[in-house]
């Protein structure tokens, strides 16, 4: 006698067989104790798993998670605030700079730009290194942006450590 396959028995336990397949399987089960035993085993497994499946997590998990979530939320808020402040400061600085230039032109005063000695030495070093020539104004701009970004990172890290310490 050919026994039912494991797949068919599992399908029967999960009620996934078509009515025709189910009828055929049931007919076999009525005369085969071995397959019946196997079906009972799968049904027992299902019953055991469904009653004992979920473990209880330690209740302290919720508070521990919430502490970390609160900390993350505070850091993100501070970060957003410091970014806003930085953007406001940068806008004010740019407006202020343009205002001075505009005022100089309106008042008829000529703009004399005297290159500082450190820029000249930097240029010489760059020339020696065969780096592309940089306009001093662009260099000022790049250095200012780098300083602003660097300060923002330092402020963010200090705030993060302070909050974590609380």
């Amino acid at each position: 006698m050919k026994h039912l396959s494991e797949e068919t028995i599992m399908g029967l336990a999960d009620k996934l067989l078509t009515p025709a397949e189910q009828e055929e399987a049931q007919a076999h089960l009525s005369i085969c104790s071995q397959c019946c035993e196997q079906l009972n085993l799968y049904q027992s497994l299902d019953m055991m798993m469904s009653t004992e499946n979920i473990l209880k997590a330690p209740p302290a998990i919720t508070n521990k998670v919430m502490q970390q979530v609160e900390l993350h939320h505070k850091i993100m808020l501070r970060k957003a605030n410091s970014r806003k402040t930085l953007i406001k400061f940068s806008v004010i600085m740019v407006v202020f700079m343009f205002a001075i230039i505009a005022l100089a032109f309106v008042s008829g005063a000529g703009l004399v730009f005297e290159t500082p000695s450190w820029v000249i030495s930097a240029k010489e070093i760059l020339e020696k290194l065969r780096m592309p020539r940089l306009n001093p104004i662009i260099m000022y701009g790049i250095v200012s942006v780098l300083i602003l970004l660097f300060s923002e990172r330092i402020i963010y890290q200090i705030r993060k450590h302070r909050l974590a310490g609380r």
């Binding site: 473990l55 330690p58 998990i61 993350h72």
Partner: protein, 184 residues
Amino acid sequence: MNKEEQNWINECLQGNTEAFRKIVDEYRNFAFTLAVRITKNEEDAEEVTQDAFVKAYTSLAGFKGDSKFSTWFYKIVVNLAMTKVRRRKPAHQCIDDIQVTIADDNEAARKADRTYYVEKAINALPEDEATIVTLFYMEDQSLNDIAAVVNLSLSNTKVKLFRARNKMAELLKTELKENIYALL
């Protein structure tokens, strides 16, 4: 995803961290169970559960609602637990040393025995099969959801589930023989 869950997520995204507490309470036990099944260690599972919730919170904005929230979240749990397992040698609990008395009239004792054998059978499975079988019996996870969580095709998931249940059934058969029915 149900409406209540969607509301909690929206509230979290608007900055209400207390809404996340409801999500934690809802999924705490499921996540912990899944983590225990994969790491086979309660301490690691606790750590994985916490990390998974924090990661879910920090990447909540990236959840587009294409899948169920539970599927998305269980994927995080599974990935973190698998990483944990890969980083350390598997430390199986020595549950063979525990003495078990079967066919006790007391329901609590029977329940403890059932837990013992279920845990033992699951611990005998490799991590991926343990994950699939846990998700299969857990909550309302369909085979498609499970395949998405474990990052396998539907047919591969079916094969692995079939193998896992087969192994568990064989193990229970060897361990319990006719006593299995006394535990139900």
